[in-house]
Symmetry: C2
Subunit: 244 residues, 2 copies
Amino acid sequence: MTLPLLITAKFFAIVWHMQPKMNDKLFLKDPEQSDIGKNIFRKSIKLMKEIGFESFTFKKLADEIKSTEATIYRYFENKHRLLNYVVSWYWHWLDYQVIFQTNNLTHPEEKLKRVINILTWQIDGELADDQEIDLEDMHQIIIRDASKVFLTKHVAEDNTDQFFKPYKSLCERISNIMKEYNPDYPYTKSLSSTMVESAHFQDFFMENLPALTDFEDNGKLTDIRDYLTSLVFSALNQHKNQLN
Amino acid sequence: MTLPLLITAKFFAIVWHMQPKMNDKLFLKDPEQSDIGKNIFRKSIKLMKEIGFESFTFKKLADEIKSTEATIYRYFENKHRLLNYVVSWYWHWLDYQVIFQTNNLTHPEEKLKRVINILTWQIDGELADDQEIDLEDMHQIIIRDASKVFLTKHVAEDNTDQFFKPYKSLCERISNIMKEYNPDYPYTKSLSSTMVESAHFQDFFMENLPALTDFEDNGKLTDIRDYLTSLVFSALNQHKNQLN
DNA sequence: TACAAAGTAATAGTATTACTATCAATATAA
DNA sequence: TTATATTGATAGTAATACTATTACTTTGTA
């Protein structure tokens, strides 16, 4: 019944990874429960990143994992559900990063800065080193395709099935830190979702449509970080009681 | 050779509408040059809004306009190009709205507020009353589907073909007003694109995923406006020379 | 160890989508 | 009037998005 005295970040991350509570309506058969399922998840990230979500098919994925379409259809209803699974996994993972990395911080200002760093992909090396999933590929998919999971005609049904819960959870967590920083700011939820979406959009623009940003694609994301920091804190400080 | 003394906003809008300089790589045959082409444009907006872009097919559109798939394929290479055409039309239109509505304003602050009103769909009644295009449907499509035109694997080629020029033009215009307001703010381009994207995202969230906003879907967009105003001006004022 | 039950994979299908090609009818322009 | 372009109708192909069937393999229990 006794726990080991030294629980390292890595150990904890692995434990977490072994138990990501995924919404079971996202799949027909739990991909975590079989080797072929895990392979579907891993290789779909690789393939989606390579050819883009629109060109991605279960046939191509089946060839990649040396199996058949029918097998994949036993795990996921269609490719949109699979994307939703991948994206949900990511939001779970990111939410965990925020919990873990802001855990021992006292000031909400520090916490928010840490959140910005996480959103702009400055993640702890140990935690980011997943044995199974290529997190770099994952991040690329998220930037380009994550919003497609809710930008659909059937968003209401998907929402009823709680598909966006991890995303909401992350935004709520950020929102709460904002409230901690400034209880008088009236738009914490909107500012949180704006922050998350902007982190991705600005990254995409920087790499693909640089006219829409002020940043250079120099491999470092320092500028996006500075921009988000400036944006968030100027908004939060504006409504802050000047006496504090 | 003399122009009529009284040029009304409506007249001018119609003139503009008759000559939107669309990128001719977006289509195979100019849809403005025939009745059937205009019908493709009009009805595709209606149909996309009704069934969503993913379910939208040229077959369904052909049935709607009482023509055949082959005819539509003579105008547009595929449905993604058609969406790009629709979205480009919208950015052109919005850019024009910004030009027209900020034209006679002196203070950049006023101009920015007007821009926010336009982005949150508070448009001049006369101008918004297009005989041919249902602008309400158009706005709905834009909110849900506009970002899909660039969130693809082939964004680089599309950018080379200048498909995103009207969007860039709008953002640059907003960026220039921001510079006018505060020449010292270093992120005008990013703030412009954030503003435009946020206006749409917050609207979508308000209607579909309210946990991600602080607004109620009461049919009015006043709150999104207040939020964007607060966000933009707090950012711009932060870097502003305190002596001004 | 035996044998049913359950799960898994491979094969083979169907319906729809995303196009392309052909050709005749019609409208238009030189 | 004759050439040219536009449309409509028909047909066809390749790929996609699935579903159904059947045969094989593992597992749980007597």
